[in-house]
């Protein structure tokens, strides 16, 4: 608390891209949207030089620890986890401005009673549009056509409309669910694969992971949308890609390590898949000498499919406020991270 106000501290990283940085204007706009909270909340913005704690300067730590002596709620991505109970005695919950929180696992540093919130859902308006883009591009053979363009080749391939084709989505969480919703709007048949979710309003069927081979056989498109955990790391390898028919197109929009990039490269070179779009990679940024830049029928987008330049921080802060209001009336918070599952 600061005075009699609840203290929300936002910790930015100056090395981060604009889209992820909160500024004064964001906070002003937030209060304009929530005029009733003006005398209840004190929102501060701090900033470290880098995300990586090892690269924080003395001043970074000093400023951060200063804010945290009174902070009730922390909004950020990266911070020192050691002794958090001591340096932030009032801290009740931490709102991560990312969907994935694997960068701060394992979670044995989390004091009991402290809640972790992630940002799943905030990406949806933007990622929904990106997913529709990628589905359309895979269906219209755009990966193949960009390869042809690079080779100055007029490769007149004709395609048919997407309605009626089959999309398999690995992981039917927030992101996968939005993918399913978009696909349904476009008239696709949607099959989800998920170990926890048994059914989904936008999936024709959701199957468990052991049915993967069966559902891959009829897929026109595979979308990888599962979180990165111990279980999902490397889940799509050479064998699994081999279960897909040659007409299939693949996209990965969640985390690079779920997919064996080399196996995908080989399948595309051999013409055993029709095309692929990758937004995420094992290593980001993708190194300049990566062979993926020249993989035929592969389109590379630099991890930009989900983050909305204009709306990302406003939507994030709206979620913080929604949870603050939930807390006030004793409702459960949204987007609580299950630390045992790591998402």
């Amino acid at each position: 608390m600061r005075g009699n106000k609840t203290h929300i501290h936002i910790e930015n990283s100056r090395s981060s891209v604009e889209v992820f940085k909160a500024n004064k204007k964001h906070v002003e706009d937030l209060f304009a949207r929530n005029a009733d909270l003006a005398d209840k909340l004190d929102i501060t913005i701090g900033s470290s030089n880098y995300d990586e704690i090892e690269r924080w300067s003395k001043e970074d730590f000093k400023e951060y620890y200063g804010y945290m002596t009174t902070a009730d709620i922390l909004v950020g991505y990266s911070f020192p986890t050691a002794d958090i109970e001591t340096y932030a005695p009032n801290l009740r919950w931490i709102h991560f401005i990312s969907s994935g929180v694997e960068h701060i696992s394992p979670f044995n540093w989390v004091p009991s009673g402290m809640t972790l919130i992630n940002n799943r859902g905030v990406h949806l308006p933007k990622s929904g549009e990106s997913f529709a883009t990628f589905l359309g591009m895979l269906n219209s053979a755009i990966p193949r056509l960009l390869t042809a363009q690079r080779n100055h080749k007029w490769d007149r391939v004709f395609t048919t409309i997407i309605a009626g084709k089959t999309l398999v989505i690995l992981g039917v969480g927030h992101q996968g669910g939005e993918m399913a919703r978009k696909a349904k709007e476009m008239g696709l048949q949607v099959i989800g694969i998920d170990p926890y979710c048994k059914e989904h309003p936008c999936c024709d069927v959701v199957v468990t992971t052991d049915k993967m081979q069966e559902v891959f056989a009829d897929a026109d498109f595979l979308a990888i949308a599962a979180p990165l955990t111990k279980e999902t790391k490397g889940i799509i390898g050479k064998e699994q890609l081999g279960w897909l028919p040659a007409k299939a197109g693949v996209m990965n929009v969640s985390r690079g390590p779920l997919l064996d990039e080399i196996a995908l490269h080989e399948k595309l070179c051999a013409g055993e898949l029709s095309g692929a779009i990758l937004d995420v990679f094992e290593t980001e940024p993708l190194q300049e000498d990566s062979l993926l830049w020249r993989t035929p029928n592969l389109i590379i987008t630099p991890h930009v499919s989900s983050d909305d330049l204009v709306n990302y921080i406003p939507l994030t802060l709206d979620l913080t406020i929604e949870n603050y209001r939930n807390e006030l009336v004793g409702k459960p918070l949204k987007n609580i991270v299950d630390t045992s599952r790591e998402f």
Binding site: E129, N139, L145, L146, W154, F158, T160, D289, D308
Partner: protein, 346 residues
């Protein structure tokens, strides 16, 4: 071949027709199933030449014989390109020609059309595929795909973020069938749609529609620009330097109608200077695009080889649907759908 009491329909196709444009017996049988009421009224025969007439080196003697032999009995011709001269002599019964293209500038000027023969085109056959392609093109421009494609060619991780397309504005130049398919796509994505057309009658999916005199004003206030005009003397090179200059800084551009409507060099200049942010072209001055065309390596441009609006599985089905929808009107000697205005040329 000829039937005395039925309407004789000659389908002109070629051995080298691409699958998307090929008339197969299956596809003909399928339309007869879809229109059982017409099944007994028509006699459809297919004339299959060795190559399409417009292809070089062109027809051989046998192809000309096949055509002459087929056309002499035809009441109706369905085709794309064929010898235009002396049709009134070679085709004494011909009353209707259906062209399986939406743009028919390859047949201009239309002075060869014999008196009493109605010409129809294929506008509308492309609808669903055009709508899907337009939706993709708009989304690709919104997501800076042309820029990312250029970056990929340079092994460059060009990480930058964009916002959603919902709420943006698109100018659609030409509000006919193709323009309307683009407008429908844009409305589905939540855009505000502004049409430019010589006919400013309000129509579905256009929030506003203005005459060509307002073009520059509309361009200056649009995030996206789509070219969906027919190719005529008036529209040739009508999108040039001045028009690109009038566009908003950072606008996205796509052309899915005809290459010659756009001044290619002006487009290249606008892209290279960064004035417009990206473009997608499906049509070109010369097709196939020559190997040495500067377009292949123009930055922030994506090239698709004139495949955007033609649905491989459904194009011929939809073509035959247009013909069969028109048959009752043809029999009743009533005006048909898609009649070409011989003076306007489309």
């Amino acid at each position: 071949m000829k039937s005395q009491d039925k309407i004789n329909i000659m389908v002109l196709t070629a051995e080298d027709s691409l699958k998307v444009f090929r008339f197969t017996q299956d596809r003909i049988d399928a339309v007869l199933e879809r229109f059982p009421e017409h099944k007994d009224k028509v006699n459809i025969y297919t004339v299959r030449t060795s190559t399409s007439f417009e292809n070089t080196p062109g027809w051989n003697t046998n192809d000309y014989e096949l055509f002459k032999d087929g056309i002499k009995d035809a009441d109706v011709l369905i085709g794309y390109m064929f010898p235009l001269e002396d049709l009134s002599q070679t085709a004494p019964h011909l009353k209707w020609i259906h062209i399986i293209g939406a743009g028919i500038e390859h047949l201009h000027p239309l002075t060869w059309v014999p008196n009493g023969v109605t010409l129809t085109n294929n506008r509308g056959a492309h609808g669903p595929k055009t709508c899907e392609y337009a939706m993709m093109a708009l989304l690709m421009l919104a997501n800076n795909m042309p820029r990312l494609g250029t970056a990929q060619h340079r092994n460059f991780w060009d990480g930058h973020f964009v916002s959603v397309i919902k709420g943006s504005r698109v100018a659609i130049i030409g509000a006919g069938k193709q323009g309307s398919a683009v407008a429908l796509a844009a409305k589905r994505l939540g855009l505000f749609t502004i049409g430019i057309d010589i006919d400013v009658t309000p129509r579905a999916d256009f929030d506003e529609i203005y005459e060509p005199g307002k073009l520059h004003e509309v361009l200056s206030d649009s995030d996206y620009v789509a070219v969906t005009l027919p190719m005529t003397q008036e529209t040739e090179r009508s999108i040039g330097k001045m028009e690109f200059a009038a566009m908003k800084q950072g606008a996205g551009f796509f052309n899915i109608s005809r290459g010659k409507i756009v001044d290619t060099l002006a487009l290249i200049e606008s892209l290279s200077s960064g004035h417009i942010s990206g473009a997608i072209l499906d049509v070109f001055d010369a097709e196939p695009l020559p190997k040495d065309s500067p377009l292949w390596s123009t930055p922030n441009l994506i090239i698709t080889p004139h495949m955007g609006c033609d649905d491989e599985e459904n194009y011929i089905h939809r073509t035959l649907d247009i013909v069969f929808d028109n048959l009752s009107k043809f029999i009743a000697k009533a005006p048909m759908q898609n009649e070409v205005d011989k003076h306007k040329g489309y």
